[in-house]
């Protein structure tokens, strides 16, 4: 190569490099899960492979602690600077105008891609008929047990409790000095609400009427009965760990990992968290349907969807990343390593997923599940503030439980109708 040709080549590279960099757009990605240790290697690999395949797009992850996730999103959305791709409380965010409808992008996709989502799954990501998110992963709630503690208490892991009476009998047997059967969740996060709803549904109760215009925590006798039984595990029976008003997902999983509690009501992702906290517990857990007082009681399935924010300047690039992240490969990685259940119906028979008996059991239990969050614009407020406050008050003053939940009904009904 002559010297002139070499110089020309260097000049072309020098000019082309910055030009390509100038055309490269940056899209931000914020979900509450990016800070979780079991997911970190997966999302890093996803971004690396996406950027290699799409050199015109740079994906910038926004790492924010779970408890600050919504605050940061709202603050940035109010400033019209929200990250392009977000996983948030979809109905509330859509009703507030923070999200961009995705129907146009969805419509352009081939049927083979769109068929991967069941219509009822997509309906969980819609608000007023418009699609605001693509369901990505979920979590079905079930009862997780520590096999060693169950056996040590003289109970049979092959016959876990099916009714509340049996559950109470087990709980008493599993409680001992400095060890309890379970934890009541009463901390100020919506996990408190999720678990409470499973108890209400497990007794044939309802927390709201059919069109979500009225709260029925106290009005529905089955609901109130369930609330009293559940909170009574701490206030009356003494089979739940201390400090329920400060117990959230984090504390509950730490207690379970340390063998302080023998059972926890949680989703599949808690398994990876518990093993991360205490690797020695791996293989010593089993999962079973939640005990209930009615046949075929529904459980709760939390649905996490990827949405595009209203302030996103590059929706096409954001959609490209969302599709990439929805790919089979990542869904299986997330399921196997981070324990997040895939929501694509075409993955049900994937061998890697079927090979995990615990995941298979969660999938089986999830066949009869109600999706969460509930579809109302005020849901984020109701779930984290009103319901949690009522649970805390009832834990502190059990004698006033009826009155506290009657007040809750009145307060929440006003919000639902505003």
């Amino acid at each position: 190569m002559s010297r002139n040709a070499l110089l020309a080549a260097v000049a072309v590279i020098a000019l082309a490099g910055p030009a390509a960099a100038q055309n490269r757009v940056t899209i931000q990605w914020q979900t509450p899960n990016l800070t979780e240790a079991q997911y970190e290697p997966i999302w890093k690999q996803t971004i690396a492979e996406f950027e290699a395949a799409n050199p015109d797009v740079k994906v910038e992850p926004i790492l924010v602690a779970r408890r600050d996730h919504w605050t940061k999103f709202v603050a940035s959305a109010q400033a019209r600077q929200a990250p392009c791709i977000v996983a948030v409380d979809l109905t509330t965010a859509a009703a507030e105008g923070y999200l961009r409808p995705m129907d146009d992008l969805w419509a352009k996709e081939p049927a083979s891609f769109r068929d991967a989502w069941a219509p009822e799954m997509l309906s969980a990501a819609k608000w007023e008929g418009k699609l605001y998110g693509l369901p990505n992963w979920g979590g079905t709630y079930a009862e997780v047990y520590n096999r060693e503690l169950v056996e040590k208490a003289g109970l049979d892991p092959k016959n876990p409790p099916k009714t509340w009476d049996e559950y109470l009998r087990w709980s008493k047997a599993l409680t001992g000095p400095d060890r309890w059967a379970t934890s009541i969740l009463g901390g100020k996060t919506d996990t408190t609400t999720r678990v409470l709803l499973t108890w209400i549904w497990g007794n044939g109760g309802e927390a709201f009427n059919a069109d979500m215009t009225e709260a029925t925590f106290a009005k529905n006798p089955k609901s109130l009965e369930a609330i009293k039984f559940y909170l009574g595990l701490f206030t009356k029976e003494g089979v739940a760990s201390p400090a329920p008003t400060t117990t959230n997902y984090l504390e509950q999983t730490v207690l379970f990992a340390q063998g302080k509690i023998a059972t926890m009501r949680n989703a599949y992702w808690s398994i990876a968290k518990v093993i991360g906290d205490n690797p020695a517990i791996e293989g010593k857990m089993f999962v079973a349907p939640m005990p209930s007082n009615i046949p075929n009681a529904p459980t709760l399935a939390s649905v996490s969807a990827h949405s595009i924010s209203q302030s996103c300047r590059y929706p096409e690039q954001a959609w490209r990343f969302i599709k990439f992240d929805m790919d089979k490969k990542w869904a299986i990685e997330r399921a196997v390593k981070a324990n997040w259940m895939p929501l694509r119906r075409d993955l049900v028979n994937e061998p890697e997923l079927k090979a995990d008996p615990m995941l298979a059991e969660f999938v089986r239990i999830g066949a009869n599940a109600r999706s969460y969050p509930l579809p109302h614009p005020a849901w984020a407020d109701i779930a984290v503030n009103d319901i949690v406050d009522a649970v805390q008050k009832a834990l502190l003053e059990p004698a006033r439980t009826d009155e506290i939940f009657r007040d809750l009904d009145a307060r929440v009904t006003r919000k639902l109708r505003q």
Binding site: G97, K188, P242, A243, T246, Q258, N385
Partner: protein
């Protein structure tokens, strides 16, 4: 002498003179960057907060609703509950800050051994970021794995783990204790500086007269520190009434609202309930409270300056 020379060389001019008028504008020009910066970071956000308090905000849309947010806030029992919690939190914290700060300052003023090291040691809580300090305390107070319960159980003071942040009384006591732990060094520092300005002759004269330690404290130390303590208390009230970080991290205002001071209510209304208009109204009401104390502070300092001039 030099003043006289200057006066001789520069003819006296009134402020209405053209030259000085130009100089005055030069002064404003030099101040302009600072004034613009202050306007951008203080005045504009303040006006925006006022404006927001008159709006009904629904996500990215807003509607002017006049004083409706104020009416709703003032009619809500949650506001009055938070106000009561705030008053209790501020009262206990400030009284403890001043008493403990004064005691520590008196002790440090007497001690000659390792004085610098001890001063740095006592200042540490104040130097640590509030969020970091609160997180450390959160884990110290954790019921199952916390160090405090471990120690108390080990020495037999308690028979079962205590959920320090799990019940209203202990949660309030815990966040107030952490606030006291963090705020005492500031008052200690101010008081220590004040103690060192008291002329030693006053103590010497009192000793000659046979005054006891208590009499010296009552009739020399306290009168000399009176002005400083009032100013420090007022500054501390202004400081503590706005605090959110410790409570935000340790309890978030719970359990059942037991530690929901006004800044916590503001945060929860804005970011948990998504009611920005009402949150802004709470903010304006909180600001009014702070302004009352700020006016008190300005009045006290002005009176103090006038006393000094006399």
């Amino acid at each position: 002498m030099s003043n006289t020379t200057t006066t001789t060389n520069t003819p006296a001019r009134s402020w209405t003179g053209r030259g000085l008028a130009r100089e005055r504008w030069h002064g404003y020009l030099f101040l302009a960057p600072t004034l613009l910066f202050l306007a951008a970071v203080i005045v504009l956000p303040l006006f925006h907060a006022f404006w927001t308090s008159f709006q009904r905000i629904r996500g990215l849309n807003s509607t002017f609703i006049g004083f409706a947010n104020y009416v709703r806030v003032l009619e809500d029992e949650a506001f009055w509950h938070s106000l009561r919690v705030s008053l209790a939190f501020v009262s206990v914290s400030v009284v403890a800050h001043v008493l403990l700060g004064l005691l520590l300052a008196l002790a440090l003023n007497k001690i000659t051994f390792a004085r610098t090291a001890l001063r740095v040691l006592f200042l540490t809580p104040w130097m640590v970021a509030a969020a970091v300090g609160a997180t450390i305390w959160l884990w110290l107070l954790e019921p199952q794995f916390g160090v405090l319960n471990y120690i108390l159980l080990s020495v037999g003071i308690i028979s079962a783990p205590v959920a320090w942040l799990g019940t209203p009384g202990t949660a309030f006591a815990a966040v107030t204790t952490v606030e006291i732990w963090r705020g005492v060094p500031f008052i200690m520092l101010l008081t220590l500086a004040g103690l060192q300005t008291i002329p030693a002759e006053q103590y010497e004269a009192a000793e000659i007269d046979g005054a006891t330690s208590w009499q010296k404290f009552r009739h020399i130390t306290l009168p000399n520190l009176k002005y400083l303590l009032v100013v420090a208390s007022t500054l501390d009230i202004i400081n503590v009434v706005r605090h959110y970080d410790i409570i935000g991290i340790m309890t978030g205002g719970g359990p059942a609202g037991a530690t929901e001071v006004l800044p916590a209510l503001l945060y929860n209304t804005a970011f948990r309930a998504n009611r920005f208009g009402e949150a802004a109204a709470i903010g304006v009401l909180l600001l009014s409270m702070v302004l009352i104390f700020a006016a008190m502070y300005l009045r006290i300092t002005r009176v103090g300056q006038e006393d000094d001039r006399r």
